[in-house]
């Protein structure tokens, strides 16, 4: 009994301190210092360790903590959808200044919660609320035109493909996923009008064995460059590419670099990755928040020129992609930035 009551005391203490902090949320951005940092929660509707999307966001938080007066708590809600809303609400209720959550899975909850917590700022990355329909003055939507980066990777892939057959593997079909492919297909066709692009939908983001089988099937059907856009499922596809000695395009983060330490052979086949620089963009958004320049209440659509998307130009890119192709890719990149080439996108 005594043990229990001591718990209650601790809890009461915790709650009290939390409410004091909540009451003392400073309105003026300049107040934040290293000793009185802006309190940020990165709420992931999943877990860390996906080696792409969520991990990249977490990397961005680390970078932000290094050079900004922020303290970040990463909250992993897991894969039980019925707990996501509750988890986000709990974060909003726990005295954070900024809550970061991503994708359309969380947008609805952000839309509902933001009017209830007007003093808390919300960053909705990789999706956006419909600002015409909601009272979301404290929400910042951050979206990425990944099609443009996909275009670059598709161009390079078609150029280095010997068979003229490419494979794409989607985890599921929704715009943030298909946008990669939309750009990739355009780029590939631009490089080689006769290119044959195989496509498969795995139906899951967490079935690597299946991702591996699908990639093997595509390779068997002639594909020599595979582009999995499928989270954990895609990790399996990369393994198939490694085993078959073909080439792959990574997704979201620089996957070759991620594998370099634990599995160098895996890194050797990923000639580039289509980067959705989530971490980088969030880092920027936090900086802008502290500066007071972040356009809350609107959506930001970030592209190549914002350094929010792109392809990884690392040592493997240098090694596996011939210099002339690299030069062409750089030229195209400039044309996209200048608007000379317009890449169709699924992001509206």
């Amino acid at each position: 009994m005594s043990m229990f009551s001591s718990f209650t005391k601790v809890a009461a203490g915790f709650l009290m301190s939390a409410s004091i902090v909540a009451a003392a949320v400073p309105a003026i951005a300049a107040d934040y210092t290293k000793d009185n940092p802006m309190k940020v929660a990165l709420v992931l509707h999943g877990t860390l360790g996906d080696k792409s999307f969520f991990d990249d966001a977490a990397e961005g938080m680390k970078a932000a903590e290094a050079d900004l007066p922020v303290s970040v708590k990463i909250i992993e809600l897991g894969y039980d959808r019925s707990k996501w809303e509750a988890g986000l609400a709990d974060a909003a209720d726990s005295g954070y200044d900024v809550i970061i959550a991503g994708t359309f899975d969380m947008t609805g909850y952000i839309t509902e919660l933001s009017p209830q917590y007007p003093d808390v700022k919300f960053i909705d990355f990789d999706d956006t609320p419909d600002f015409s329909k909601c009272e979301c003055k404290n929400v910042l939507g951050v979206q990425y035109t990944t099609a443009a980066a996909g275009y670059l990777a598709g161009y390079a892939a078609a150029k280095i493909s010997k068979s003229g057959t490419l494979g794409t593997i989607l985890g599921m079909e929704f715009p943030t996923v298909t946008d990669f492919k939309t750009g990739f297909d355009q780029g590939a066709k631009a490089a080689n009008p006769n290119v044959n692009i195989l496509n498969a939908v795995a139906g899951a983001f967490n079935d690597p064995a299946k991702g591996k089988e699908i990639a093997l099937a595509q390779i068997n059907q002639g594909a020599d460059v595979v582009f999995p856009i499928a989270g954990g499922t895609g990790i399996g596809s990369l393994q198939a590419v490694k085993d078959s000695g073909k080439l792959a395009v990574g997704v979201d983060s620089d996957q070759a670099t991620i594998f370099a330490g634990s599995d160098p052979a895996q890194a050797e086949v990923i000639f580039t990755s289509v980067l959705k620089k989530v971490g980088n963009s969030l880092h920027q958004a936090l900086k802008a928040t502290i500066d007071g320049t972040a356009p809350y209440g609107t959506r930001q659509l970030l592209g190549i020129k914002d350094n929010a998307v792109g392809i990884a130009k690392n040592q493997w890119y240098e090694k596996l992609v011939p210099a002339d192709v690299r030069a062409e890719v750089d030229a195209i990149e400039q044309k996209i930035i200048s608007g000379e080439i317009v890449v169709a996108t699924d992001m509206k």
Binding site: D50, K51, A209, G211, A217
Partner: protein
């Protein structure tokens, strides 16, 4: 249409089927041993999953065969735990089985996080190893059929060969050794072996241990060959499909092999079909094994009823 034929009759597709079948077959054999000893092992799923994780983690620090043995061992251990609760503490074995599954679903993620220093999704931070494939490319030296033999027989996992051997071994054990006689006797009418001085509790316990070990071996194959590494819930219902395969296979090792092959083929189809039939929704393809299990269950039961009816019993 041509595409399908080419794909289906290709050596690669055959190799794919063997690969998808192997973990299923091992788990099915495990389910069979438990079933014949009188216990429906609904924990195959959980045992496989824990087998996956154990094999992956051990393979980081030890040679692949030690990791495979670890997967097998942990499965056996879980079987012993089930036996303890079911036979010693008289818990219902179905409920114990589900407890193991729940333990596996949460426990593997938890243990993975501990092993990787925080990753709850995949084990790619761990340098886990693969089970080697058996290279029979020397067969292509045989004139004529050599290349075909190589295409079909080379490149399978060591455990695929082992699984094929285990079909025979389990059959031999069940129907040609005294212990197989004991096990089947215990499953059919425990009073008889008990009266003959056979330690029934021990036979049952060992059956579950073997059952778990085979499921764990299936897990090792899944996490060290089909895909090298662990991700949460990576068994994705294979343990339950194996349970269906036991019933479908008429509780016989050869039947188990055929049933596992059937489901393995469906799984392989599910991989190949989207490449060929983009119109076919992935969800419906994924339903196939479950629908087939139910259909098989119903057909088998209808056949059993018909057989009775033919003999004049309504």
């Amino acid at each position: 249409m041509m595409d399908i034929f080419l794909t289906v009759f290709s050596a690669t597709f055959f190799v794919t089927i063997i690969r998808t079948t192997t973990p299923l077959l091992l788990a099915t054999l495990g389910g069979l041993v438990a079933d014949l000893s009188g216990a429906l092992n609904v924990a195959l799923e959980g045992m496989m999953l824990i087998g996956c994780l154990t094999a992956v983690i051990v393979s980081v620090y030890a040679p692949w065969y030690v990791a495979v043995l670890a997967g097998l061992g942990v499965g056996g251990l879980l079987g012993a735990m089930m036996a303890f609760f079911a036979y010693r503490l008289k818990a219902d074995i179905i409920l114990v089985g589900f407890a193991v599954n729940i333990l596996a679903a949460g426990g593997t993620v938890f243990a993975l996080a501990l092993a990787t220093g925080g990753d709850k999704g995949t084990s790619i931070n761990l340098q886990s190893q693969a089970i080697p494939a058996v290279d029979l490319s020397f067969l292509s030296a045989i004139p004529g059929i050599g290349p075909i033999l190589t295409a079909f027989l080379s490149g399978h996992s060591v455990l695929s060969w082992l699984a094929a051997f285990l079909v025979f071994a389990v059959w031999y054990f069940l129907f040609r050794t005294p212990w197989g006689l004991w096990l089947r006797g215990v499953g059919e009418y425990p009073g008889a072996p008990e009266a003959a001085g056979i330690p029934v509790a021990k036979v049952r316990t060992w059956s579950l241990v073997v059952s778990g070990a085979l499921a764990g071996l299936g897990g090792a194959q899944l996490a060290m060959f089909n895909y090298v590494g662990f991700t949460r819930d990576m068994t994705a219902g294979r343990g339950f499909i194996a349970l269906g395969a036991v019933l479908l296979g008429a509780r016989h090792p050869v039947g188990a092999l055929l049933a596992a092959l059937l489901f393995g083929t469906f799984e392989a189809f599910a991989v190949v079909l989207p490449g060929l039939f983009n119109w076919m929704p992935a969800e419906l393809i994924r339903m196939i094994p479950f629908v087939v299990t139910i259909a098989a269950l119903v057909l088998f039961s209808i056949r059993a009823q018909r057989a009775l009816a033919m003999r004049g019993v309504k």
